[in-house]
Amino acid sequence: MKPKLIIILLLLVLVPLGLIAWLGVKMARQEQQQVQQRIQQVLTARLADLRESVGRLVEKEGRDFLRLTDLATAEPADVEAIRDLVRGNRLVRQIFVVDPDKQFIFPPRQGASEREREALLRLAPIWKSGAVFHPAGKESGTVVGDSGWHTWFTGEGVQFYFWRHLRDGRTVGIELEDAALLADVIALLPSSDIPGTGLPAGHIVLQDARNTPLYQWGDYRPAVQELPLARLPLAAPLNAWSFEYFAPAAEFSRAVSGSARFNIGAAVGVVAMALLGLAVYFYRESAREIREAARKVSFVNQVSHELKTPLTNIRLYAELLEGRLPEGDEKTRGYLGIVTAESRRLSRLINNILTFARQQKARPTLHLAPGLVDETIAATLEGFRPALEDAGVRIVFNAQAGRLVKLDADALEQILGNLISNVEKYALGGQLLEVTSRQEGDRTIIRVADRGPGIPSGKADDIFKPFIRLSDRLTEGVSGTGLGLSIARDLARLHGGDVSLEPSMGGACFQVVLHTPAGV
């Protein structure tokens, strides 16, 4: 198979395959991204459910704290009643009441218990910072009328406060017992994976602002340093806390992506198989054609060989007989000359057929060797001289290509043989064959002109096509294969030049140009 054909075939298969593979990889990446997004969505939705539950708990406790503050608003403040409220509610660490001038009404300055003094110390930085509960409550986003939540970061962690402004300008606040709050939150959360979700086992962690786990559950055990697949902070006022969802990514990908990746792979595989099948089909078809062509070439070679043996004997014995002719028997010598010339013509035809058959198989190669162009021209003319001169054709050779150059003498002889053979066939009536040679730099230019009927206008290109013979009277009764000029042009082009039909006043004039670098 020709390398060019193999390359084309490979391109026809490899380019689409590469394209499909590229698209496949791209689609797989997109799919991977989509899967990641889907995992994120699924896990975030799970975490959002949990957050919502916690949010509802906080809202409920906020309502409870509103009712609680109602009880702490007696004027003047009923210290003991407030202390009872603190003692009676496990979520309340301390209650405080502040007058419009930001002076603590409760805990009282005088007679405060140890616990209440500690509470005042904890509250002091809040007051010093100026971050009073109003309007700071807006920051939490949980303002309920004139009440809300406030979070305060301390060295021990986050402290949660619920506050409420009264119409008389006082502020009632509740410092929450964070352990009790956490216990309520944990009580809401599940203790193990929820069955029936269709998702692989995971591991959910509730963590505080310092990423310290507060609570965790689930059968999956994440590795150290493993990153969570999803993360969601809780709603205010617990927004310093967050949920993290750990899970085996690969299992989740499979669970979430389903058969999408398999489908892409299968589609790519099917297309690839189809392409390969197509390539194999074309390869086999091409190989079959090549085998057919090789068989034809082999047949032509065999036939040519079989023709050559009798042809050898015809020429050999004609020349031997010519050598034995007595002096003066010019008539017989003439007859033998015709036999020899015809055998040479037959040789040229066979060589043309062989050359053409080989060209179908592979590009022929030249054998460049130092030589004299004029010597080859003269030798070729000598072969034609008897037949042409017998027909009354005058041969004129204007030799101007005597420089030693690199050329394939056999190819040049075949080119010239085919051109002069046409003179012998079609232009004997012109009575002249004029061959001119010259050299210009690395080029050798040879003109072969006759005074025959010439080539009809418009046929200048057709005559160089294989098996094309002019259909007018020019070819009537003249044998030939229609390969001569085609082969002459191919050989000249192989030799870095060309054969062309030149304008002429009468007859045909062919110009042969060859690339002939210096021979030494």
Partner: protein
């Protein structure tokens, strides 16, 4: 000098024998590869003309076998196979030249002469002089050439034998039988007409005026003579 001609086509084989005999070579023949190897051992030829496509044993096989025992004898392939690869293979196997069929007499003669020159040049120097003069000619047997001044004229092996014989017997008349015996060999039976024709052709090439020869003179009803 003896040449083995190996060719399965009988007509081509006979034609080649005719050409080489005319040139002055002794020949022996074989119609196939096995005969060729047998003849090569028996006849000990100085060169081999070898066809490639033969039944039984191909010319390539014969060449390979000959080269196993003899690396110097010139081998010329003569074949209808004219593709480049055939020529390259033949030369790679150790052949000295390649002639494509159909060939002309002149082509075969030229190639055989070239091979003969190489053979003669490779031979150890003989006691005979490397060249000798005949009138204005310088005759160089090992080159199969005579020189008139700087101009070289190619001659056949037989021509050279004739010139050598005339030179060795200069002044003496050599009759036709002697010339036949010495230059054609006893097995060759040409008639006197062909001898005269051969001398005539030789004169055309080496005499300045063949009508008035100075080198090969005719002695009427006796033979030919060279006089210094």
């Amino acid at each position: 000098m003896k040449i083995l001609i190996v060719e399965d086509d009988v007509r081509t084989r006979k034609g080649l024998v005719e050409i080489l005999a005319q040139e002055g070579y002794d020949t022996c023949t074989a119609a196939n590869g096995r005969e060729a190897l047998s003849s090569f051992t028996k006849e000990k030829p100085d060169a081999v003309c070898l066809d490639i496509m033969m039944p039984d044993l191909s010319g390539y096989d014969v060449c390979r076998e000959i080269r196993r025992t003899n690396g110097t004898v010139p081998i010329i392939f003569i074949s209808a196979k004219s593709e480049e690869v055939d020529k390259v293979l033949g030369l790679e196997l150790g052949a000295d030249d390649y002639i494509s069929k159909p060939f002309g007499v002149k082509e075969v003669v030229a190639r055989i002469r070239a091979v003969t020159r190489r053979c003669l040049a490779a031979r150890p120097p003989a006691t005979a002089p490397a060249s000798f003069g005949m009138a204005d000619l310088k005759v160089v047997p090992s080159e199969l050439r005579v020189y008139r001044g700087r101009k070289g004229i190619e001659v056949s092996l037989r021509d050279m034998h004739i010139l050598q014989l005339l030179y060795d017997n200069q002044g003496q008349v050599l009759d036709r039988n002697t010339l036949f015996d010495k230059c054609w060999g006893l097995n060759y039976m040409p008639n006197s007409r062909s001898l005269d024709q051969h001398i005539s052709q030789l004169r055309k090439r080496i005499e300045l005026n063949p009508a008035d020869p100075k080198i090969i003179r005719t002695v009427h009803n006796a033979g030919y003579r060279f006089e210094a």
